[in-house]
Each structure stands twice: as C-alpha cells, then as structure tokens.
Amino acid sequence: MGFNKFFKGATEIGRAMGVTLKHLTQKPITVEYPASPVPLYPRFRGKHELRRYENGMERCIGCMLCEAACPTAAIYVEAEENDPNHPTSPGERYAKVYEVNLLRCVFCGDCEEACPVEAIVLGSEFAMANYNRRDFILTKQQLLNPGEPNVVIRPE
C-alpha cells in the first residue's frame, strides 16, 4: 500500500516536472510590456483616431452621424461652414469641435460604421489611463494626431 502510494506520487511529480521541463525549452508567453509591444488582433478596437486625406485635408465633414449612432452619447460634434479659400475638409462642412468622452465610450465601433467618409476609426492604442477626469475627453487636436499616423486599419 505504502509503495503504491509512493509510486503514484513520484509519477505525478515526474509529469509535473515534465511540463516544467517542456516549457524550459519554449519561448516565454509573458510580454515585457511596455518594453516590448503587445500583439493585437487585426480587428481590435482601441482609442479613436480621426483620419486625413493624402493631401492633408481632414476627412471628417462634421455630419454628426457618429454622434447619432453612438449608443452612449460619448461623441460631441459641432459643425461649421468651410472657408472656401482655406477649406479644412472637402465640401462645405467641417467639424469645428469633435470630442470623444473615453469614460463613456464602450468601444463598440458603431461610429466607424456610421461614418460616410471613414474619418473616425478605432485605432490600436489601448493604454488610456489618466490622472484627471477631464483628460479623458479627447479633443479634435488629439484625435487628429495619433501616435502612429494613418496606419491602415481593418482593410476589409
């Protein structure tokens, strides 16, 4: 009986040690964040970005459809008329104010869906912690200047 018990225990330890030994030879799963980057799924939805055209013009036309589509009322847009001589965006209308409230946003991506000109996209940045509530409201300036400009996101 005693022997049997000892043998069973030794097998279990051996199997456990086997797992350990196997992982000794494998690459580690842990990521040295923030020193090394985190792999993301292609359809990951992170912090919002506003896109520009190649010529530098803003894509956003201030139509407020994202605001209408937003289920949590996290987006606030004020549109205005373009100066015909120095247009901000193609056409007659642009967004004078574009704000995203990150405390409200649930990152559903409905704004992306609603946008007729693919101006608002959810980027890949996920580190959005802040020290101040006010800093969670992204202004248009912040949205237009993402860390990595104009990376193609979700080409489908």
Partner: protein
Amino acid sequence: MTTDLVNVTIDDRAVAVPKGTLVVDAAAKLNIEIPVFCSHPKLDPVACCRMCLVEITGPRGPMLQTACSVPVAEGMVVKTNTPQVKATQEATLGFILLNHPLDCPICDKGGECPLQDQTMRYGPGISALVEPKRHKNKHYMISDTIVLDQERCVVCWRCIRYLEEWEDKPQLGLFERGGQTLIDIQPGQPVNAKTSGNIIDICPVGALTNRVARFSYRPWEIERTASICTHCSVGCNVRLDSRTHKLRRIVGRENMQVNDQWLCDKGRFAHAWVNAEDRLTMPMVRKNGELVGVPWSEALQVIADKLQAIKKTNGADAIGGIGSAKLSNESNYLLQRFFRQMIGTNNIDHRDGGDVAALATGLPALADVMKPQYGPNPKVDTIFLFGVDPSEELPILDVHLKRAVRKGKAKLIIAHPRKIELTRYQGPYLGYKPGTEATLLNGLTAAALAAKAALEAKEGDQPAPQNDVSAVEQLLRDLCGVDPAEVKRAAEALAQSSNALIIYGPLVARGEAGQNTLHGLTNLALATGHYERLAYVGLEANSQGCRDMGLLPHALPGHAALDDKAAKQRLQTLWGATLPTKAGKTYKQMLDGAGKEIKALYIMGANPASERPEWTANLDKLDFLVVQELFLTETAKLADVVLPAVSWAESSGTFTNLERRVQRAPKAVRDPHSKAAPDWMILDHLATRMGTNWPYAAEHGITAEITKAVPLYAGLTWEALGDQGLQWDAKALNVQPTSQEATQQNITLYEEYPLSLVSGTVLFDDGNMFRRTTQMKDRIMPALVGLNPADAAGLGVVDGTPVIVRSAHGELTMAVKIEAQVQPGTAWIPESLPGAPVGALLNGSDIEHVRVQQK
C-alpha cells in the same frame, strides 16, 4: 361656405368632402398618404413634379392623374396602391434622383427631408444612372440669409410660388430647360422680400437652407419648444430648436388664427442675441464710479435700502418704474404690483404706454383678415391703415393684407405720411403732412357722411341736402397736402363697405395730437358704422398685454380706472395692500422729470437713453437708477445697479398679441454658466427684501394670479392656453365710444426748417437685438435721410451726399437717400438707425420740422 358634399371612393373607402376639394386632400381625410413634392396646402397647385399620380376612374376608364390638381367629382373612384401607381412612383422618384447629389451627410435638410423619406418609402432603391451626375451651382447665396443648392433642387416651384402668391414679389424664377432647369434670382438682385425665409420651410429638399443656422443643428439632436416670436405684436407661432443650452434655429409653427405658418426674416433669423457673448451674467453695483460685479444678495439689498431711503425722504412719487412691452405679462404684472404695493406710487409705464391714445381692445381678429385667402366670403372687405406700415412694422400682417387684397378682393385705404409699400395696390392713398391728422380725419368724416347720404338717397330716392364742402376741400389741399378727390374715394369706400377694418398705430397716436387723432377716427368710424372694428395696434410683442396688466400710470390691471372701486377692492384683497390713488407719471413725463421731481427709476428691459440725448443727461442726474437688462445698454451704463435678466427663450411667460390672443412662450434654453435670473424672480426676491412675502413658486403661479387680478383673463391659465393661445373677449370690456370734436393743433412753421420730419419704424434697424445677427448686418438700414426727388433736386443733393439734418433741438449727420416714396416737403428718418437717433431731432415733440444742408 358651400355645403355641397361630393362622395368619392379612395382605395375602396368612401368619403364625403366639400365640392372643389383636391383628391390629395380628400385622401388625407382618410389618412391615405399620397406622396407629393410640388403640392403644398398653402399654395396653388401646379402638378409639375408628377409624384402624386394616382389611378382615377373616369368616363374613359382608369387613368393616371395628378391627385394634387384634380378636384373631386361625384362618384369618383381613386386608387393609390395599384401596381401601375407603384411603378409610376418608383419611376418618378428615380427620375427626380437622377441628378440629385448624394450629399445628405452635409445637408441641413437630412433627417427631416421629404425627399429622403419618400425615397425610402416609394423609391426604386437603385439608380439607373451610371454616367456622372450633372453639376450646377452649390453654396449659392440668393440673399444674405438663404443658401441655394441648385443640384439638390427638384424644381417643384414652391419657392417661386410662395414669393408670387404670398409676397407678391416674384424674385425667383426658372431658367434654362429640361434637365438643365434651375431656380435662380434675377441677375444681381438678391431675394429681399421681408418674409423670404419661409421658402426654406416649404422647400421639400435641401435646396434652400438657412444660412444663420447653417450646420449648427441636426434634426435628431435638437429639442423643440413650441413658442412664439417676440419681435412684433403679431405674435407669430414659432418652434425654438435648441441643443446644448443654445438656441440653434427658429422655424414657423402653424396657427391658423395668427400667422398661418409664416414668419418674417427678423423673427426667423435674428436670434443671435439670445446666445450672445456679451450678455450680462452677474449683478453689478456702482462702486467709486465703476460698475463692479457683486452677488445677488448684495445687489438686491442695495436696491431695497436705497429705494426705502428715497421713499422716506422724497415720498413714493419720487420713484418711478418703467417696464417694457418686449417682456411677458408676468414680468410686467409683477413690476406694476411691486410699484403699487411696495413703493406705493402709480408712476409706472412703458414706451408708447400712457403717452399714447390707444384703444383697449386691439384688433377684432387676425383671422378676419386671413379669411379671404381660404373662403369665398371675406369677413373684412375694406381695410383702412392709418399711420401703420405693416411691411416694416408687422410683416406677417403685411402678408395677410396682400393676400386679402389679391385673393379676397379687399379694398386697401392707406393714410401715411410716406408712400408705404402697400400703396402699390392702387387703393386710395392719402399722403398727408405729419401733424395734420385731425384735419384729414375731419375731411374724411365729412366726405363719408356725404357719401353715406348719397347712398341712402339712391335707395329712398330723395335728394340729400348738399353741405358746402369747398372749405373742407381747401383745407385738405392746403394744410394736409392731400387731393380731395382721393379723400372722397377713400370715404366712399368706407361708406360702402359693410365690414371695414380701421387700424391705427403709435405713429399717429402719440401725445396731444394723438388724442385728436383718436377723436377723429372715432367720429369717422361712428359715421361709417365701423366702430367695432376700429383698432389701435401697438408695435411691440406685448403692447396689448402691458395695457391689460395695468402697466399704465392711469389704469389698474384690466383697464380699470384708478378710482374704480370694485377693481381696487379686488386688488387690495388679492395683494393685501392699499393702493395709491394719485395718477402717476407717464413714460415721457418720468424721463423728462428724471433728476428733478423723479429721484429714482427702476427700468426693466427699456433703453430710453438710446432714444433722446436729453434723456441720457436726465438719467445721469438721478439719485438712483436700477436697470434690469440683457445687455449693458446705453441706459444700463448709467445705472447704479444693473441686474442681469434672461430673455423670453430662457424663462416662461405669456404674451398678448395685437388681437388680444394670449400665447405661451415656455422656457426653451438656459445658460448654465450665467447667474442671470428671470424678471419675476428678481422682483419677487426684491419684494422679500423689502418686507413682504409673495407666494410665487414659478411663473405659472403668476399666470394664475393674473387670471384673478384681471377679470378679462379669467380662465386663461397656463394649461388652458395650450399651443395656440386664447383670445380674451373684447365684449367683456364693454367700451362705449365717446364722440368728441377732433381739433387741429397749430403747426408752427419756421422758414429755416422747411421740411416736415417723418419718423417710424423699419424692420431691419440697428436695434440692440437685431444688430447681433452678423449675417444680416448688410440689411440694416444705414444712417440715411429719405428725401423726395423734387426736394433733393432743389437742395442739389444726390444719393449718398453727406448732409446735416437740423431741427430746433439738435442735428444729425447722415447721407441722402432719394426715394419717390417720401412725399414732397418731408424728410424720412426712421428710429434706431446706426449712430443717428432721430430722437435728437424730435426731443420729445412728435411733430418737428427740419432743414437738410449739404455738409
């Protein structure tokens, strides 16, 4: 009204409708919707968009006809849902959409666009066009306030028809042909009709959009508040669209008793002042000569202490209160209660209040003027305008009048010292010299009596004795400068009319001359049998309401005399106070006496300092001046305490329009950053600090108290008024006409001042509110003096010549504008022109003569 009913069957359902009803309206009675673009209930049918094609079975079998232009016939069978109708609707929409741009996301109409809605419901879902779309003008300003997008236009002609049928100013037209057809203005002539903004409301697509509100709202984002406009006394019903505590847009709201569904451009576009940056946001008290912001408690305490001190040393009658006809019944009722109860004086008035010879009852009903447009039996067949210019003062009444003349065949008689716009309808025009109203009216009455006698003589076949009229005619010609034949024409029209409406305005009702004008008009109305329909029309939003509320030095609430025992008893019980018995000073008397017998003034929403330089000096001499205002006006700058008030859009109130209709204006927006408070709340707190406790918790409590204090308003509670307002009964007031001789006042003529000064109101002036709408700044009338071409030639001046206009009291530097509408021998200077207060020339008198000199 015809009562013949016609039986028709629409989609297998029977309905009986009056003869002449259009198929589309008959279907609407059954709640069957027939899609339309060009058809509009307020415009004549043209049947040009073809969207409303339905299958109508006639003698030759079923065929497609336009429901918007075919009247019903007995036994008619209409089908709106056959496969053929559906196919036609799809094809028509596909055709309309061929060249329609896909810019719904940036189009202001998006979300409330009939074209969008009908495309979703009846459209083909796919475009047959693979070629590029046709391009036309976008962002094309057809006026300072209206943007045209020709690409979006579906050529329904609604705008063209509105301007032709209602405004009678065909300023838009169709150009080119076929697919290239476009709506355009005449070259270089922007749309400038006073009610042009209505074409934005009726445009079924986003072709015509509001430039002032452009891109500042989305239909699904806004809060809509049913309110009224407070720019003039018509009291048009509007909808205030707001978002994020800001007033974004004003659109018309239908009220078939008041404005139909139309609005004037001032009411629609000029609302920038509500959200203006320079609105007062906190109370200010003068300390060491400077106005310093203080908390409410301090400001109110200063006022309470100071008013009580002045009352103690100089007596209650040394304090005066000035209200404003721009403010609600509640504000003005409370101001007069404050003065009568807390101060104990009747020194309480408003501009054009006690100084004006008014009638208590206002217009019988606006609907009487509107009626001709919709029914064959006009209620009013003759309209006599005396000293009123609806085109500039009451633009929606102007639209109604034009329609009454053109569709209802009403006669229009105009007496005005200027040849106003409505004189183009060929009615008798009496262009009298200012100050000769009494003579003119006496002449008119004499001629009317003669015409009446002649009419009766025809019936009874007895020749009436002819009075010698040559002396009267001579006077008319020499003194008034009016052709006696024209007076005879006018008098005959009035005598023959069975239902004439006589309207006069403050221009002829001010001062002592105004009393005589009223006597003259009463005599004329009694002689012609139209006294019931003689009406005084004030120009401000609540001119009628202020009088009803007793904001007058000589009348208590409800038009009761100061010694009316019953009224006094009623108010004393209601207020728990004894009322002062001595008649108070009028607006003009208070301002003339400011700094002399008047030591302190409490001014709510009025700006007398902008009217006359002399008053500015007087106000400066006061011991104590409180101004309750929206902006730091000329008057507020002189004040010892400035209290920030809120506008009509930011507090609830009721307003009484020119036909005694009490209408609601509920709170629509609020500025969360401002400390400004509603007028009633300020007065309520001030009363508390002066030792009483008023029972109001909200505006509606005051509205309820008014129904008790003013018997005419019995039952007119906030809830009862509803969205369309209620009229109080003029018969309840039981006014008895008193016939009195109208005496002509002496007009002193000086050789050095050869021209009579004609003042008045223009719609687009440099008023404190209007000038804040920057988009309309080019429509503000500049500092111009209007001269007749003959006078201008005599002076050797041309358009734009800088001149000095001088009167015995002062002078103004202006430029000349030569206008045939200005009568010879007169100079026209309206009120509130930029940098040219006509009060500097008038200085208190109502009749003044001037000299125009080249600079």
